[in-house]
């Protein structure tokens, strides 16, 4: 038996959805379900090894080749960039990036340079650059919705799923930026050195989706 393929999963919902997908393929994921405190978990009949990590770290591990594959949101991919192959749109973890402001305020009015709060400064910068618009970007680590309420920012760029949190805080989406979903990414060297195994797994995943 070959060394198992190592796949990094983004902890939380993407992890659960991916495990669901692997089980649907027919792999026994009991070790991943009862993981305790372990961070590297075997899926023996798939000859896989699951690593659980934060989203940004999934990309780091895959880029450096210590994990062959990864499951991570398109949001993280867009924010982090990096060198790897993006093979499959897994279809789950769906949401979108959107620009939101306080209800009734006009974001594009006036000549004042606008301030935008976000957890995703790179995506925000690229977006406003593509519009040819100068904005000040403030990086916020926690609840971005607070920034316009405290009048630190004129608007926010964030992940929106249903929009409930926004509504409850008197904010509204004024523009959708880009849709987001979970992706299967692959290290560029693994793709070459373990082509057969990876293609087999990708085919199984694509047929199950």
């Amino acid at each position: 038996m070959n060394k198992p393929l190592r796949i990094a999963l983004t902890k939380g919902r993407l992890e659960k959805d991916t495990v669901g997908l692997l089980e649907k393929i027919g792999f026994d994921c009991s070790a991943v379900r009862d993981k305790g405190r372990k961070l590297i978990l075997p899926v023996p009949d798939g000859n896989l090894e699951v690593v659980l990590a934060k989203a940004n770290d999934v990309i780091t591990y895959v880029e450096h080749g210590v994990c062959d594959l990864g499951v991570v949101g398109k949001d993280t991919i867009m924010e982090m960039q990096g060198t790897f192959f993006e093979l499959v749109d897994l279809g789950f973890g769906k949401c979108r990036f959107a620009l939101a402001t306080k209800k009734g305020s006009s974001f594009y009015g006036g000549y004042k340079v606008k301030t935008v709060a976000t957890k995703y400064p790179n995506i925000t910068r690229t977006y406003f650059e593509s519009k040819g618009m100068d904005v000040d970007i403030v990086k916020i680590e926690g609840s971005v919705e607070l920034a316009p309420l405290l009048e630190l920012a004129d608007g926010i760029v964030d992940i929106v799923e249903t929009g409930t949190t926004l509504k409850e805080n008197g904010l509204e989406v004024i523009e959708d930026i880009v849709p987001v979903s979970a992706r299967l990414i692959v290290n560029t060297v693994s793709m070459k050195l373990r082509q057969d195994e990876i293609e087999r797994l990708v085919a199984l995943i694509e047929n199950t989706l």
Binding site: T60, E63, H64, G65, V66, T83, F84, F85, E86, L87, V88, D89, R183, V186, N187, T188, V189, M191, K192, L193, Q195
Partner: protein, 399 residues
């Protein structure tokens, strides 16, 4: 205390002892191979004008170049690559030299990487450039053989090679009725094998044999069957010769016994503005990026006023050295066999004895402690088992 005087800049490191030895071993093995095949070494400046790297078919983003200014305020960069300076050299100082030129280099290149990515900013690179080889098929074959030979000598069993031809992609994409930026976007999606986005993009352009072939391009890698698949997808008088040439090279390399080591990848489309024909990459298992990269760049020299075909590749010596160290394949530093310690006033005798022992093949250290006892203590700490003590006579002391 000054803040930065005890550390090295981000992305650089001191290389000590065995690490240093491994890197030099890699460099000298490559140098030997290149020399044996008739290549001569050149050294180009560590700093160059920014303009050199900002021409139309040179793919250096300004963000990755370390920049400074010279005494006249002109913009200077730390060399981000060795091929472009060598192309300049070939078109200027070697303008009247007989072709082909076979040149090799062994010098670091500099890249300003994003912080905290764990990547090196100073990369030791060795490689060849075969410039002006009139019969490009023969030149392609030679460069590939040398590339394969380069990796093979480090680990016969655990290297892989892939070859492609960027001409195939260029021919296909040129047939699309779209603007330049869309072509570039398609290229990017193919190079990162982003199947979903590539499909969406090509669907929006229309459904033709060309879009169907482009959709499959990132999946066109593997063995000899790739050529059949590619021919099924698309065939005409321009793409067929490209595939035929690539197949011919591939089969020739298989004949040399590299069959299990080489795969074909028509989805190698990186640096499309620079490469014009065959492109290839070499990998060592466990290293997260290609350790060898190269290809044909027939357009570059004409930018310096000397149009001629050229092909070359570069090897990342640091990555290879780290690989050898990790897999216990690197040479290791040998401890000294003995210490030669001379009592006061006899240092000339110590040097004479040292030379004699070296002549017998030993590695020695001359004692620089004040007393024999201190020398002995030092020897024990270092694990050196033998001391020659020079007094009125020479005493050989085993510890």
């Amino acid at each position: 205390m000054k803040k930065n005087d005890l550390i090295t800049p981000e992305g650089t490191r001191d290389l000590l002892f065995n690490d240093c030895l491994a890197r030099r071993a890699v460099e000298s093995k490559l140098g030997k191979l290149f020399t044996d095949f008739g290549y001569s070494e050149v050294v180009t400046p560590g700093i160059e004008f920014y303009d050199l790297f900002s021409g139309s078919c040179r793919h250096f983003r300004q963000e990755i170049m370390y920049k400074l200014t010279d005494s006249k305020g002109r913009l200077i960069v730390l060399r981000p690559d060795s091929t472009v300076p060598i192309a300049r050299l070939a078109s200027t100082r070697l303008a009247s030299a007989v072709l082909p030129l076979r040149l090799y280099y062994n010098q670091p290149v500099y890249e300003n990487n994003a912080l905290l990515k764990g990547r090196s900013d100073e990369i030791a690179q060795a490689g060849i450039e075969l410039i002006g080889g009139e019969d490009t098929e023969r030149a392609d074959y030679e460069a590939l053989c040398l590339g394969l030979g380069s990796l093979e000598q480090f680990d016969r069993d655990n290297f892989r090679f892939e070859i492609g031809d960027i001409g195939y992609f260029k021919e296909l994409v040129a047939r699309l009725d779209v603007d330049e930026s869309t072509r570039e976007e398609i290229r990017l999606l193919i190079s990162v094998k982003n199947y979903p986005a590539l499909n969406d993009m090509l669907d929006s352009i229309g459904s033709t044999p060309v879009t169907a072939a482009l959709k499959m391009l990132p999946r066109l890698f593997g063995g000899v069957e790739v050529f059949e698949k590619a021919a099924e997808l698309f065939t005409d008088e321009k793409t067929d010769p490209i595939l035929e040439h690539l197949k011919d090279v591939y089969l020739k390399l298989c004949e040399l016994g590299y069959g299990g080591k080489i795969s074909v990848d028509l989805g190698i489309v990186s640096h499309a503005d620079y490469y014009t024909g065959i492109v290839f990459k070499g990998y060592l298992s466990g290293v997260g990026q290609a350790v060898l990269k190269g290809g044909r760049y027939d357009g570059l020299l004409s930018e310096f006023g000397r149009p001629c075909p050229a092909i070359g590749f570069g090897v990342n010596c640091d990555d290879v050295a780290n690989y050898l160290r990790r897999n216990s394949l690197a040479p290791e530093i040998k401890d000294p066999d003995c210490i030669v310690f001379a009592e006061a006033g006899r240092s000339a005798e110590a040097v004479a004895l040292a030379k004699e022992l070296i002549g017998q093949g030993m590695k020695i250290e001359i004692g620089v402690h004040k007393t024999f006892e201190a020398t002995r203590e030092y020897a024990v700490k270092r694990g050196i088992g033998l001391i020659y003590r020079i007094g009125s006579e020479v005493e050989k002391i085993e510890l």
